[in-house]
Point group: C2
Chain length 364, copies 2
C-alpha cells in the first residue's frame, strides 16, 4: 500500500511517497527531466542517453573535484533554470545530486529516488549533502532538499543482508535518538536482517516520520538534529581507520555500541540507562551476527591507533574539545563536549576496545 507525508523546510516543503512500482512511474511521468542514475542501475532504466548522467557509486565521485564535470554534463544536456533533475541511487548519488542541483544556475528543482535501505530509511529526507575535498571526507556540503522523495520498496529485494543491516542501524539510531519508546516501537516492527517487504516498508515509514521531527525542529543541524550523529563520530573513525572496508551503516551500528561503552566507562548511566543502552547494544549485536554466523563481513584486525587518529581528526570536534553524542542518565542522548586530554583519550580507546571485543572483531 502506498503511503505519503510532507516534510516542511525553509525553502519549501516536500512530499515523501513510499510504495511499490514507483520507478516505472517516475520515468514515464518525466519525459523532459534529466536523470542522474547510479551507473549499475542504468540497464534497468529505459532512459535515452541524451537525458541521463551516469554516476558510479564511488566515494571518489562525491568529491568537489568531480563536481565541475557533473555540472558540465548538465550544461551539455541543455539544462537550464527550469530543468527538473531526477536522481536515482544510494547515498553517493544523493550527495552528488543535492550538491550539483543546489549550485547549478543557483539551484534547480530535483526529485530523489533512493535505492539503498540506508538512503530510504534515513538520508533521503533532511536535504544534507556531504562532499569530499582532496581526500578529506565530507569536508564540505550543504542543505538542499529535493522537491519530492519517491521510495520504491521494490529496490529492497535486490539488496544483500549487509546493506539491509546498514540501513536498519540508521533507522535504529533515529528511533533511539527520539526516545526509548520509539526504539521499542521500532523493535516491534519485526526488525531483522531478512524481512518481508511489508515489514521493510513499515520500518522505513517509522524511521522517516521520526526523523521528520528532528529536521523540522532543527533544519540546519544546530541542536536537536545533532543527536542524529549518534554512532557517527565513533563510526566514521572505524570506516576511515579500516580504509572504508567497513560500510557506513555497519560502522554506525558499531559506533553506537562504542558510545554506550564510553558512557558506561564515564559512569554517566543510571540503572535504567544501563538497561536501555544494553538493549540497544544487544539489538545491534544481533544484527551483526545471525545464529552465531556473521551477517556482515568481519574486517581484518583493526588498528586502534589509526582509528583513534581518525577520531581525533573528525570535523565535528572543536579545537580543544571532542564533541560526540552519548547516552546519559536514563539512556537519553546528549551532545557532550569532552576536554581533549589523556584521560579522555584513554577512555575513548577503552570504549573502542570493549565494543569491538563484544562483537568479536579483532584489534591490533
Amino acid at each position: 500500500m502506498q503511503e505519503s507525508f510532507e516534510v516542511s523546510a525553509s525553502g519549501g516543503g516536500y512530499r515523501v511517497v513510499v510504495g511499490r512500482g514507483l520507478l516505472k512511474e517516475v520515468v514515464a511521468d518525466n519525459p523532459d527531466a534529466i536523470f542522474m542514475v547510479d551507473d549499475h542501475l542504468a540497464p534497468l532504466l529505459p532512459i535515452p542517453v541524451n537525458c541521463r548522467i551516469l554516476v558510479k557509486a564511488l566515494e571518489a565521485n562525491k568529491s568537489l573535484e568531480c563536481m565541475s564535470e557533473i555540472v558540465l554534463k548538465l550544461r551539455e544536456l541543455g539544462a537550464n533554470r527550469a530543468t527538473h533533475l531526477v536522481a536515482i541511487g544510494g547515498g553517493v548519488i544523493q550527495d552528488v545530486a543535492t550538491f550539483s542541483a543546489s549550485i547549478y544556475m543557483r539551484g534547480i528543482r530535483w526529485t530523489y529516488m533512493p535505492t539503498t535501505l540506508l538512503s530510504m530509511a534515513d538520508s533521503c529526507i533532511g536535504g544534507k549533502s556531504s562532499i569530499n575535498v582532496l581526500g578529506y571526507k565530507n569536508l564540505v556540503g550543504n542543505f538542499y532538499p529535493p522537491k519530492e522523495v519517491l521510495i520504491d520498496i521494490d529496490f529492497v529485494a535486490s539488496l544483500d543482508s549487509e546493506k539491509v543491516v546498514g540501513g536498519l542501524f540508521e533507522a535504529a539510531k533515529i528511533c533511539y535518538a527520539r526516545g526509548y519508546q520509539d526504539f521499542q516501537d521500532y523493535l516491534s516492527d519485526g526488525t531483522a536482517a531478512q524481512m518481508s517487504v511489508d515489514n521493510v516498508q513499515r520500518i522505513i515509514v517509522r524511521a522517516l516520520r521520526t526523523k521528520k521531527w528532528f529536521i523540522e525542529t532543527d533544519e540546519f543541524d544546530q541542536k536537536e538534529r545533532l543527536l542524529l550523529n549518534f554512532g557517527h563520530t565513533f563510526g566514521h573513525a572505524i570506516e576511515a581507520g579500516t580504509n572504508f572496508s567497513v560500510p557506513h551503516g555497519v560502522a554506525v551500528g558499531v559506533g553506537m555500541i562504542v558510545a554506550v561503552e564510553y558512557a558506561k566507562k564515564r559512569g554517566w548511566l543510571s540503572p535504567t540507562g544501563i538497561e536501555r543502552t544494553s538493549n540497544l547494544s544487544r539489538h545491534a549485536k544481533s544484527m551483526l551476527r545471525l545464529d552465531g554466523g556473521s551477517i556482515v563481513a568481519v574486517p581484518a584486525a583493526i588498528d586502534l591507533k589509526l582509528v583513534m587518529e581518525k577520531f581525533n581528526n573528525d570535523k565535528k570536534h572543536l579545537s580543544d574539545t571532542y564533541r560526540m553524542v552519548c547516552p546519559r542518565g536514563a539512556g537519553e542522548l546528549e551532545l557532550v563536549s569532552e576536554a581533549k586530554n589523556d584521560d579522555t583519550h584513554r577512555d575513548i580507546t577503552w570504549a573502542y576496545e570493549s565494543a569491538l571485543r563484544e562483537i568479536g572483531w579483532q584489534t591490533k
Copy 2:
C-alpha cells in the same frame, strides 16, 4: 558619519554598516578570525600569515575548479564549524568567500568588507555567489549572505574613475528598477565620476536601501529581484564578446542603453516612457564620456556577431525564448520573454548597433 541598517533573510538577518575607518576595526576586533583578502590589499593589513588566505581578484579564481584549494587552505588554517571568516575585497573575493563559507562544514559564519564601489553599492547585500565552471561564466552559484557587511568608504579614494563609473551604473540600475522617482533621487545625490566622500556614501546607502526592498521581497530571485538583471543580459554579452576587456559595471551601463533601444524598436514605450528612458540613457552616456573625453577605456571595434553568439548562450534564456529585462509603457521594467526567431534576433542586433553608435564605440 556612520550609518547602519538591517537586511532580513531566511537564514537570519544581517547588519550593514557604512562609514570610515572600519578596516582597522574589523582587523582589531577579530583576532581569532580567518581573513580572506584580495592579494593586492595584503600589504595594507596587519594580518598574520597563519590566519589569512590571499586570493588574486582574477576571473579564473572564482571557479569551481579552484574551490578545493580554498577549502583545503581553510582546513590547513584549522577552520572548524565555529570559525569566523572575514572577507575583504571586491566581487571575486565576495564570490569565493560566499561559496566557500557556505559549503565549508556545511556553512560557517562570515563577514564581508567590500572594497570596490560595485561591491559596496550593489553586490555586498543579497547573498548571491556566481562561480565559473570549466570556462562557463557564472554557471553555478548559491545564496549565502554574510552575518555582517562592513563598508569602509575610505577604500573609494583608491579607485580609478572607470571603477567608480562601474559602481555607479549598478546603483543607477537598482534605483531605476525600483521606480522613476528613485532614479531621480539618485541623480540628485550629485552623481558623478569624481565625487566627494560624502556623496559616495550617500549614493551607496541609497542604492543598498533600495536593493534591500528587492532582496527582502524576493530573496531567491524568482520575480521582483530578477528586475535587477536590467542591463545584465545585454551587458554580459558585451563583456564576453570583448574577451572581458569591457569591465562588468561598464558593460551593465551599456547594456541598459541597449535594452532601452530594443524597447524603442519594439514600440513598447509611451511618450512618457521614451522621455524617462532617454534620461536614463543620457545619464549613462554622460558617465562614459566627460567633457568630450572618455572616462572609461573604449574597447577595440566590437564583433557584433560574437556578441550575439554570447547573448544567445546566456544562461537566463530558456530553450525557446530569450528572457531579458526591458522598459515598457511609461518606462517601468519588466522581465520579457521573446520567441527565439529571426525577427527578434534582427531587432536585438539593431539595438546593439544603435546603442554602441550612440556612445561612439566602433563595431565590426
